[in-house]
């Protein structure tokens, strides 16, 4: 404002006076200075909001982290399909036709395919001296060298089967099977007693989430299973990866392709959907915690409303002073509303940081990638600001209603 205008105002002719004006930056800065002047009260009164937002952000973050972990396990697309021939009379896997794998590989969207064959009646023991009854429930499967590529598995020690070792009495142990047998490293002389003869252990697998049965299995090559364990080359289960957008069409033609003679006996399943369902069950508590977070935010908002009402009572004289200095009712009300919103926004930011820290802590502890969804941050702070605005309405209205002369008498 120019000096000329001000002089005009001072001695000016009767006219509608200029309005009081309060800059937004001054409003916010004033609120922050007020909050800083009452640090302990500020901290305590935004605690409720902070706890609520932290709980919500942590819940959303942890479930997002779990989901990210799951996607990593599933190879992001969930395009793994298993084909089995059902079970025999004794509950053991029934064999598929010898041609099944080649036929499936010819379906155009199928990217990779691998077969395993259950070897009926085979047992695995540490030595021949251990009685058969103590074989630990380890199953023996014939597997192909390309199996890990299709299943997304990896070896923890040693190597997997290759074209050479598949012809010799060599065995790769699943993670649980190795544990059962007490084998935690692979040395040239590590052997297990497998159905009447010693096989050399050449590798130990890491857990395979998409095919948990393999964790408790001992894997040998198909050639050696045929020659030494009389498997006959029949696969019992086929794993395949289809192009991610073609999974359903592939699933629909699989039974006829795998066993044209008896398509009704073929079972097709998507292990990724089973895992996804299991993960969804794990996050079923998320709703409960979100509800608790909402309750905490509500209580926090009531706390802020309470503290702001007290603040209006305590600061009656300040309100009178501001009115004397030219503040309108609206500007006084806005000041208290701003302080309320700043309080809750502060709680919201603290809550988001706390929730993100909890998510990171959980993710690190459980070996998952830490993911804090940006939407949860935005919604968290938004909810906090909304709660503060609601909480501030009544105190602000009380402050605005206060008559200036009455307020000044309170000092």
């Amino acid at each position: 404002m120019s000096a000329g205008t001000r002089i005009g105002l001072r001695r000016g002719a009767p006219a509608s006076p200029p309005r009081s004006r309060l800059r937004a930056a001054d409003l916010i800065l004033g609120g922050l200075l007020g909050l800083r002047a009452r640090k302990l009260r500020t901290a305590l009164s935004c605690l409720g909001i902070a706890i609520g937002i932290a709980a919500a952000v942590a819940v959303l973050g942890i479930s997002a982290s779990s989901r990210a972990n799951l996607l990593a396990e599933l190879g992001a697309e969930g395009n793994l399909v298993t084909v089995t021939a059902g079970q025999g009379f004794d509950g053991s896997p029934a064999p598929l036709p010898l041609t099944a794998q080649q036929m499936i590989a010819r379906i155009p969207p199928v990217e990779s395919v691998t077969a395993i064959g259950y070897v009926p009646g085979a047992t695995v023991r540490r030595t021949a001296a251990i009685p058969v009854i103590d074989s630990g429930g380890i199953s023996v499967y014939a597997a192909e060298p390309g199996m890990l590529g299709t299943l997304g598995g990896s070896v923890a020690a040693g190597t997997f089967l290759n074209a050479a070792t598949a012809r010799y009495p060599a065995v790769v142990l699943g993670a649980v099977a190795a544990q059962t047998l007490g084998i935690d490293r692979v040395r040239p002389d590590t052997q297990v007693y497998l159905s009447g003869r010693y096989f050399t252990v050449i590798g130990i697998l890491r857990p395979v989430p998409l095919a948990p049965a393999l964790d408790e299995a001992a894997l040998v090559g198909f050639p050696v299973a045929d020659s030494l364990l009389s498997l006959g080359g029949h696969p019992t289960q086929i794993y395949l990866r289809a192009a991610p957008d073609q999974v359903q069409p592939v699933v629909s033609v699989l039974p006829f392709t795998a066993n044209p003679a008896q398509p009704e006996g073929v079972q097709v399943s998507l292990p990724s959907s089973i895992l996804a369902a299991r993960a969804a069950a794990r996050t079923a508590y998320a709703g409960l915690f979100l509800g608790l977070g909402a309750v905490a935010v509500l209580i926090g908002a009531v706390g802020i409303a309470n503290i702001m009402v007290i603040s209006v009572l305590e600061r009656r004289a300040e309100i009178g002073l501001r009115r004397a200095l030219g503040a309108t009712r609206w500007q006084v009300g806005l000041q208290f509303l701003t302080e309320s919103v700043l309080l809750s926004a502060l709680g919201g930011v603290a809550g988001v940081l706390g929730g993100a820290a909890a998510t990171a802590g959980y993710a690190i502890a459980s070996g998952q990638p830490a993911v804090v969804p940006p939407a949860s941050v935005a919604v968290g702070i938004g909810v906090a600001i909304g709660a503060g605005a609601l909480a501030g309405v009544y105190p602000a209205a009380r402050a605005a209603r206060l008559a200036p002369a009455e307020a000044l008498r309170a000092w």
Binding site: R10, P14, P17, S20, R21, T328, W411
Partner: protein
């Protein structure tokens, strides 16, 4: 020179049984650069007169004109603007905000004019210089003596160059030395044309003013306005 404040036939009563009449048929004219003390026993209506004249309270009837403008018909927001731009207030209890330093407290007096923070600060420093507190800019009220606090409050009242400064018992909480400094400051305010109206019990304050308005039971019973002594 025209009157900066004209109060004509003002009544103010508060509801109750019976209703309390705080002001009755009050007429008062204050000209630019005039210094007036409002005296009278407690309950005589001095503070109510100051509140009505300062647009902090509306009269029950009668006319209040500030700078020639009738304010009775103005909205609450318009009255606020009149206070913010034309009037200054000094209180017995200083009314400084504890968490703000001297400059911030003085700048608060200009907050509701919508000026830039930088301009407010410059004006605040200037006003503190005028009250002799140029060396106390960054001090919080708790670090200032009572007299210094009241000087900060006066700086806040005059930072916006108001037409009239109203002071309610400005020396009431001060010793005589600090009170004397405040009186000198109030007297000096009129140098740039600002009128000063002081409600006081302090004889020293009353003696320093050009004019003494004495109230009793809501009426003005004496007014020793020196005719022709007012600076044009």
């Amino acid at each position: 020179m025209s009157a900066v404040l004209e109060i004509t036939d003002v009544f103010k009563s508060y509801p109750g049984s019976p209703p309390v009449t705080a002001l009755a048929a009050v007429d008062l004219e204050i000209r630019a650069a005039e210094r007036a003390a409002v005296l009278g026993p407690s309950g005589s209506g001095k503070t109510t007169l100051l509140h009505v004249a300062g647009t902090l309270e509306r009269p029950s009837s009668g006319s209040v004109r500030i700078g020639g403008q009738e304010v009775s018909a103005l909205s609450d927001a318009e009255l606020s603007a009149v206070r913010g731009r034309r009037l200054g207030f000094v209180f017995q209890q200083f009314h400084l905000l504890d968490h703000l330093d001297a400059v911030q407290n003085v700048a608060l007096g200009l907050l509701y004019r919508g000026e830039q923070a930088r301009d407010r600060r410059v004006a605040a420093v200037d006003a503190l210089d005028r009250v002799g507190l140029g060396h106390r800019l960054g001090h919080k009220p708790a670090q200032l003596s009572g007299g210094e606090r009241q000087r900060v409050a006066i700086a806040r009242a005059v930072a916006g160059h108001p037409d009239v400064v109203f002071a309610d018992e400005p020396t009431g909480n001060l010793d005589s030395v600090a009170g004397g400094q405040i009186i000198d400051l109030l007297v000096g305010l009129t140098a740039d044309g600002t009128a000063v109206v002081v409600v006081t019990h302090d004889p020293a304050v009353a003696a320093a003013m050009d004019r003494r308005v004495v109230m009793q039971d809501g009426r003005i019973i004496a007014d020793d306005r020196p005719e022709g002594a007012v600076m044009p």
